[in-house]
Symmetry: C2
Subunit: 711 residues, 2 copies
């Protein structure tokens, strides 16, 4: 065959494979499929078989890989999920060693990721000496998926779980889901919404759950369920769900027995009780501890656990941000050993920026776990790019000072500070049945980042972003560059990925904060959705703490919620010296200023500007940075497959328009109070306040707004 024809055919082949493959469904798992090297295993098991199979398909290096179970002191210490990866002298073999099957699988994925990101090139292979163990024992996704297929705050289509067809029909995506989780160390999943239907515990549904659990098991992903606290009534026909009632206890005991008879390694329950209308122990005058302990006691024989959410805010105090603390802190020490209290990162509700919840570090005798939100309920849904690793790091790295300096949220929750054996971290999933799983192609990075941080919380956001970009785009870019001078091209490609990481991923969450709610502002969202701005929103008869004005408190003098000692005194919920730092107008970090203080419009900021001017500058920076994302992304056009390139390009356009909408709505609304001009050197609003106030975005909790052109 003449070279020219060969080259043409190669090109055609490459083009065709794009058309087929580059819908984003492959996530970060774009390993080669032409592996030919030897993989040595001592014995077989479902999990080891997966590890071996992955390596046989994709391991391209000219040395064999051995998967070795060893229970020496080193590997016992790493646990059955930990592992080492080492090259034998002379690079004759790479050995992955673990005390458990699961560790071998994690080690295999680690090795393949090193290969895929170019970290085994040259002599690097010769010097491998890796030792890994997870920081959190339970690394769990929370799916807010309803049994009818909708997802509360899901913006990537419908639920992955096709309950109607289960257990008879098994979608290949169930295994793909388990594999993706395993590849980044996620070992647990709550299948259903915390606003739980009792139906999930019916015999019928348990069979469906079992089908999923069976698929997930070899990948080391354990199944958990959200339960409705009133299930004994709804499902069992009892007249009460009082946790101290014996029949209620008996019902739960029987139900748990039934569950474990079907799913022997079932993980346990996640409970949202007495929160936003959900039933709970308080309905019967019982405490959250009494409710949680009821369930803990019946789960204990099976090593099951209870994850009890602290997201409660009955208006018992004038400041919603204080309520979870007020309710849970006094219960410290009252929970069973197998209960863990699940606390949202911030004291309100997954806002673009919040301080960490003061409950971290407040409960010492009780295991607590962070609940992070991967789905972007308050960060632009799947229309906006917002890489969340920096936000989660901000929380995990926060020092609570609970036991003096160094008592970070990470150390409070990973078990190291108080020696709790139960250590977990949850992420509210952004996964749906869209072909690309997460809606926004770049939102896959958040699923990835959650897994990586749950494994190792001191990874930097920069490293995670770079890993994900290289895994996700390098293989395709490599394929596209067939025929182009490889060396030069590879250099450009590396430059581009570095750029995408530094200039888009790493800056993206801060940009969202800037154009939505900078300087500590929060909850300026619309009543019926959390997508667009409605700082003016005022619904007659609705509870005050669901209204933006409750949070921003703008008036002719200034703006912000006084949570200092002259106000709600929420600052007192933090340990010293944070308490004093937050409490002082001049010591409070400016990025949290309006969270903790009602600040005069004329207040002089560190920049030398007044608060009003600083607000204008910050909103504008958000808009300009978003436009910058577009510029950067468009440079990737020749390196990234068309389908994903255009999908991101499209969403960045939406984001740019939304950023302008946010800036205009907030500045023009707040200007009514500040009565000051937007600094004349800044770009001006292009929307009118009146028009924006009259506009209603008609979407439900389960949708991401479409965005065409209209006038």
């Amino acid at each position: 065959m003449p070279m020219r024809l060969l080259s043409l055919l190669t090109t055609l082949f490459v083009l065709c494979s794009f058309a087929r493959a580059e819908d984003g469904s492959a996530l970060w798992l774009r390993y080669a499929t032409n592996g030919q090297s030897e993989v040595i295993v001592q014995r077989q098991s479902p999990t080891i078989n997966i590890a071996a199979s992955e390596l046989r398909k994709a391991w391209l290096m000219p040395v064999p890989v051995a998967l070795e179970i060893r229970s020496d002191k080193e590997h016992r210490a790493l646990g059955n999920e930990g592992y080492t990866i080492r090259t034998t002298i002379g690079a004759k073999q790479v050995t992955v060693t673990s005390s458990g099957d699961q560790g071998l699988l994690y080690g295999a994925y680690h090795l393949l990721q090193l290969q895929a990101t170019g970290q085994l090139e040259g002599t690097k292979l010769d010097r491998l000496d890796i030792s890994e163990k997870p920081d959190y024992k339970i690394r769990i996704l929370n799916h807010w998926d309803n049994l009818d297929g909708t997802i509360e705050r899901g913006y990537a289509g419908h639920s992955l779980w096709n309950w109607d067809e289960l257990p008879a029909v098994i979608s290949p995506r169930y295994e793909a889901y388990a594999r993706a989780n395993a590849s980044i160390g996620i070992n647990a999943t709550v299948l259903n919404n915390v606003n739980a239907s009792p139906e999930i515990l019916s015999a019928n549904y348990l069979q469906k759950v079992k089908a999923l659990a069976d698929i997930f098991r070899p990948y080391g992903v354990k199944v958990y369920l959200s339960i409705n606290f009133a299930s004994p009534m709804a499902l069992g026909g009892l007249p009460t769900a009082d946790p101290l009632n014996k029949e209620v206890a008996a019902w739960w005991k029987q139900k748990v027995k039934e569950i474990y008879s079907v799913i022997p390694d079932f993980g346990g329950f996640l409970v949202k009780a007495n929160s936003e209308g959900q039933p709970g122990p308080c309905d019967y005058g019982r405490t959250h501890a009494e409710g949680a302990n009821l369930l803990a006691d019946v789960l204990k024989p099976y090593q099951g656990i209870v994850m009890w959410r602290a997201f409660v805010y009955s208006p018992s105090d004038s400041d919603r941000a204080k309520q979870a603390y007020l309710e849970f802190e006094p219960l410290d020490g009252k929970f069973r050993e197998n209960v863990i209290v699940q606390i949202k990162n911030g004291p309100v509700d997954f806002q673009p920026r919040e301080p960490f919840s003061p409950l971290f570090g407040a409960m010492k005798k009780t295991a607590v776990m962070p609940e992070l939100q991967i789905t972007q309920e308050y960060l632009g849904f799947s229309n906006h790019v917002a890489f969340l690793a920096p936000m989660w790091k901000e929380c995990l790295d926060s020092d609570t000072y609970a036991q003096g300096e160094g008592s970070t949220v990470a150390r409070v929750t990973d078990g190291s500070l108080y020696g709790h054996s139960l250590a977990a971290i949850a992420g509210v999933s952004n996964i749906g049945n869209d072909v690309n799983w997460c809606g926004h192609p770049l939102a896959q990075a958040n699923w990835y980042a959650f897994g990586r941080l749950a494994w190792k919380h001191d990874l930097s956001a920069e490293q995670i972003g770079e890993e994900w970009l290289r895994l996700t785009f390098l293989p395709v870019a490599d394929a596209r560059t067939v025929g182009i001078e490889p060396a030069e091209d590879r250099e450009q490609l590396n430059w581009l990925l570095t750029l995408l990481n530094a200039e888009i991923l790493q800056k993206s969450r801060e940009a969202v904060v800037d154009y939505m709610m900078p300087l500590g502002l929060h909850h300026l969202f619309a009543w019926n959705h959390h997508y667009g701005p409605e700082p003016w929103c005022d619904i007659e008869g609705a509870r005050a703490d669901w209204m933006p004005a409750y949070y921003h408190r703008a008036d002719p003098n200034g703006i912000g919620f006084d949570r200092s000692s002259t106000g709600s005194n929420a600052t007192a919920q933090y340990h010293s010296p944070l308490c004093e730092q937050y409490d002082g107008l001049d010591t409070c970090p400016e990025k949290l200023l309006l969270w903790f203080h009602h600040v005069p419009w004329t207040h002089s900021m560190k920049s030398g500007r007044t608060l009003w001017d600083e607000l204008c500058y910050t909103y504008d920076r958000g808009v300009q940075t978003t436009r910058q994302f577009q510029k950067i992304w468009d440079r990737a056009e020749t390196f990234i497959d068309r389908q994903r390139f255009e999908d991101v390009q499209h969403r960045l356009r939406i984001q740019s328009r939304d950023a302008v909408w946010w800036r205009d709505a907030c500045l023009l609304y707040f200007q009514q109070f500040s009565k000051q001009a937007i600094p004349h050197e800044l770009e001006r609003p292009v929307h009118n306040l009146k028009d924006m106030m009259e506009f209603k975005l008609e979407i439900t909790n389960f949708e991401c707004p479409p965005y065409g052109f209209t006038k």
Copy 2:
């Protein structure tokens, strides 16, 4: 009364007068009303009485004004509309002198405008020595107003003429209209649309027309009518409208007699014949000259004239831009003395930028007049600011080279080049019944500019802009500054008005060209409106020369209409050396490049950029300049009354969004052909081509699109 209370009352009074007066209805006529100086008149007449009354109300200088009719050589030469204004030695009296009443009225307005713009301050009054006469004999507005009250291409409400109520009910706005026109020298008006209803010539309607003519007469504004060439059939019941038919001629003779019996100083007819479906002489195999002469002959005894429009484009040639020339040039010398051919400034149709029509300078034995469009049919309606004086100057100052260098369009049409006694200039009005007359507060400047240029075509756009701004905003700004240090404030105010003129008015039309149709592009408008971009528009069965692709001709090689000698050879319709200049790819002015040439995307422009890159840069410049307008305007906030300030601010916001829409639509559409990236340093599109192509703006020819916020 204590000073404080007095000050408060003064403030209240000032605030109240804003609320009442600053709706824009006062146009540029914001003279004082506390005049007390003496006005000396020799005799009375309706026109002189108006002049004296205006001066008595508003003349504030401490010297009397005399209005003097004098028929000396100097004033005979200035004509009955010309005048002198002089100060007698020692500044004891200002004398306005003219050979006619009308000249005294014009002189009075001139004097008041000098006073209002601060040009009589200090010792300037002592040295007045002004001599004025109009460049064009007929300075005429064309109203495209239909008898049902709609205005074709009107964006300031409905027609000012309330035909149903006339002649019984006389709106005070009729006189205000005449006064505004007189104040800037406009002396004629065509009341109805060139797509004329025969009904306008009915006895019933002539009574209505007479009522208006009677009001306009003392202000020196003469009435004309558009006629439907088939009126003898529609109105007279004749079987034909053939201009050579004797009964037809008799019908017109009788009709004209009837008109003059009602309106003795009736001006004449404006005719759109055999154009866009209108009837005309060609329907009977007669020429335009034969049609026009029929009417000229019957009007002649009354000194009436015929304005015959050259806007015809039956597809007799493959290039619409050539057709008017092809049709009319051979008729030169065949028209009666009292016929004037009315030619649109450019060869196509009021596009944001066109070369001047080659018909100017092609007809030497025939009087020709420019038809300018004041209403912004193709320049953003009344939503966009586009000060048109620079565009009209561009046409009037263009050298046709018809009689060698210096044969400008102005000199071709003002009668000086060929010695025609008939010299006229028409402007298609932007006036409607909106309170502020023109919709956009800044669009009043275009009515003003038309009047000023029709009077004196060598005025600069800068001077006209400054005059208008000072007349329109100074009096109010002065009132607002009560209580503020006057000297300092006046300085700021002068600085501001200079800024508004230089940075908004003077740059506005070029900005519209940049973001709509730069580099000679034209007619990229939507099918059903001329507001937004539809370069992709393609309507099955519609005539080709109504489709954008007919004009832009974008293809994989390049873009633009080849009208050079290798193409339609429209360049040959221009006199040498223009013909050669336009014909050469390298000599053609870049601002007209794509009008005359089909240019490769890679063509190197004077900037050193490729054509594609230059196109991107120019569209982007349009967007950035529009944003700059917003920044400049917002600086005026403390100097301009709230109502007009906010109205303009609102419209500038619309314009900014529209500019982005235009840029995105055109660049993304043309990018399909160029296959090149938008230069990476430029701001990126925020709309998707597909969305824009699916969007249809549902408006009629009579509306300006509203603009709320939608997603």
